[in-house]
């Protein structure tokens, strides 16, 4: 796990160091560069770290990182750890809400479809999941924005707080109102995987002998689900949901960009476009840590659900 994180940081560092993008060109602009003196350009070069050998830079960066110093964000001009902390605090709510809603809703829909296999309910749920799986999150975000913010004017267009208001004046209601659309988009797109998975598990269970026996005893519908289905289906669904953190995070990058929600995803895009290498690296490592954490929990849960996997040494 730690080793994987180290590898992620090496890979990420390798990728940014072979980049031909000149940070000066990207941020200062051709015209401004032309009018600067050689001395100024050299100072800027030193600031953006141009011209140093990559291995040396990596070692310097990694040893600082290890001590908790992630360097200075070049665009925000604040320590990377501070920037990430602020952005993560914004994002984590969004991610958590979307993660829980998509998990619960997906589980319920999947279980329902599995119980009612072959009926129109099943067909509708399955069709919905297949279409949603093919729908890009950013387009769905645009459509929702169009409907709720532009036509119905029910919800604000973007940002996590109202524009032009002091930080102290922002109420919880404001924050919630601004998070509804992004969270809704992420929840809707996150559903399909878990729905289809739960449905298949549920179908397996409905065909098992113990459900047949339960039916013969006169149990039906809800009581079969409560007594026999739920416990068998919830754990695989949970593990799948823990393993899908990477997906939700990826979706949040797009969704935050569209709603100009000041979270980690938007910071990643800004850092990528603006060549803010320290921030980009910091975000990569942090998000990889979150994803690995989710995968680790998923692996442990697999072991709990299925002892056969435990014996084989779960994944890691």
């Amino acid at each position: 796990m730690m080793l994987l994180l180290v590898c992620v940081s090496i890979a990420a560092f390798f990728l940014v160091s072979i980049s031909p993008v000149d940070p000066l060109q990207a941020n200062v602009g051709q015209a401004a560069l032309g009018s600067m003196s050689q001395e100024q350009i050299e100072r800027l070069n030193a600031y953006w770290g141009v011209g140093q050998p990559p291995v040396e830079r990596f070692l310097a960066w990694a040893s600082d990182f290890f001590r908790g110093d992630m360097g200075l964000s070049l665009l925000y001009r604040r320590p990377v750890s501070e920037v990430i902390a602020v952005k993560l605090a914004n994002s984590i709510w969004l991610l958590a809400i979307a993660w829980v809603i998509s998990g619960v809703l997906g589980f319920c829909l999947g279980a329902l479809a599995g119980m009612k296999r072959g009926t129109w309910v099943d067909k509708a749920i399955r069709g919905y999941s297949l279409v949603i799986a093919s729908t890009p999150a950013f387009w769905l975000a645009l459509v929702l924005l169009m409907i709720f913010a532009v036509w119905l004017k029910l919800l604000p267009v973007g940002l996590s707080v109202p524009i032009g208001m002091e930080a102290a004046g922002v109420t919880l209601v404001d924050r919630i109102r601004h998070a509804i659309l992004p969270a809704m988009t992420l929840s809707i797109t996150g559903i399909s995987n878990i729905t289809l998975h739960t449905r298949e598990k549920m179908i397996d269970i409905m065909e098992s002998d113990y459900v047949l026996f339960a039916k013969a005893r006169g149990e039906s519908g809800w009581s079969i689900f409560k007594n026999h289905g739920f416990r068998n289906v919830i754990l695989p669904a949970l593990t799948l949901q823990f393993a899908s953190i990477s997906e939700i995070f990826g979706g949040s990058v797009l969704v935050e960009e569209i709603f100009s929600y000041p979270g980690l995803g938007q910071a990643a895009v800004t850092a990528g476009i603006g060549s803010d290498v320290p921030l980009l690296l910091g975000i990569t490592v942090i998000s990889a840590a979150i994803v690995f954490g989710g995968n680790l929990i998923a692996n442990l849960l697999y072991g709990i659900v299925d002892p056969r996997i435990r014996r084989g040494g779960a994944g890691l």
Partner: protein, 274 residues
Amino acid sequence: MRRMNGRQRTVLAFGAALLFLALITIAGQVFAKEAMATDFSRKNLAPCAAYPFGTDWMGRDMFVRTLTGLSMSIRIGLLAAGVSALLALFLGIVSATMGRAVDSIVTWSIDLVMGIPHILLLILISYACGKGFKGVVIGVSLTHWTSLARLIRGEVLQLKEAPYIKVAGRLGLSPWQIARKHMVPHLFPQFLVGLILLFPHAILHEASITFLGFGLSPEQPAIGVILSESMQYLAMGKWWLALFPGLLLVLTVVLFDVAGESLRKLLDPGSAHV
């Protein structure tokens, strides 16, 4: 009309999906010139009979623009998914046959690639390639091989225990010969289905990364560029700029999915009854 059986219906679905996708790709190529043409006498038209998708603020016909953009996306998707699938086939076979050390390296790199959120990795690779067409293709190719590689690795591990492979080994064939002569033909159907099912992901990620501004240059009519431009005009009520190109993109992705699933049913009838 006579009722068709399941297999015939599947063949029909597969053929129709492929035909439609080919039509979009070719039409996009044919209209490539018109997609760039501006005409300020027909600015900001809502959808009508002459312009089914409306026109934008520079009087460009959104219908041909969308077709060209999608055709570009499909071609990038084909290229990237092809590279990705070949990579997966190679790594999957190598990891399962070349011994423990190679295996752990490959599974290790699968974990590594899966650990970084997809979009973030795409941003990093695109940044490494200096943003632009090359970055998108390389990025999408390098990020999509993981799950297929895992699948093929599992399959090969099973195959290795099969009697005919063991016999081939006893007869003195080298691991490489066994892989090429006995394993690849067996894996081919799965590989083909995996390849087609990679397209939807490849296209979606291509569109996303272009949408974020890391991909193709703004004047190119790519589907991501079209949608990100439309975002600025959304608040002014120009809903058709975003709605129709997006719908057609969803349709394309669904069709690739249909094609892949139908092919799976045709090649492996056992899986049809799920």
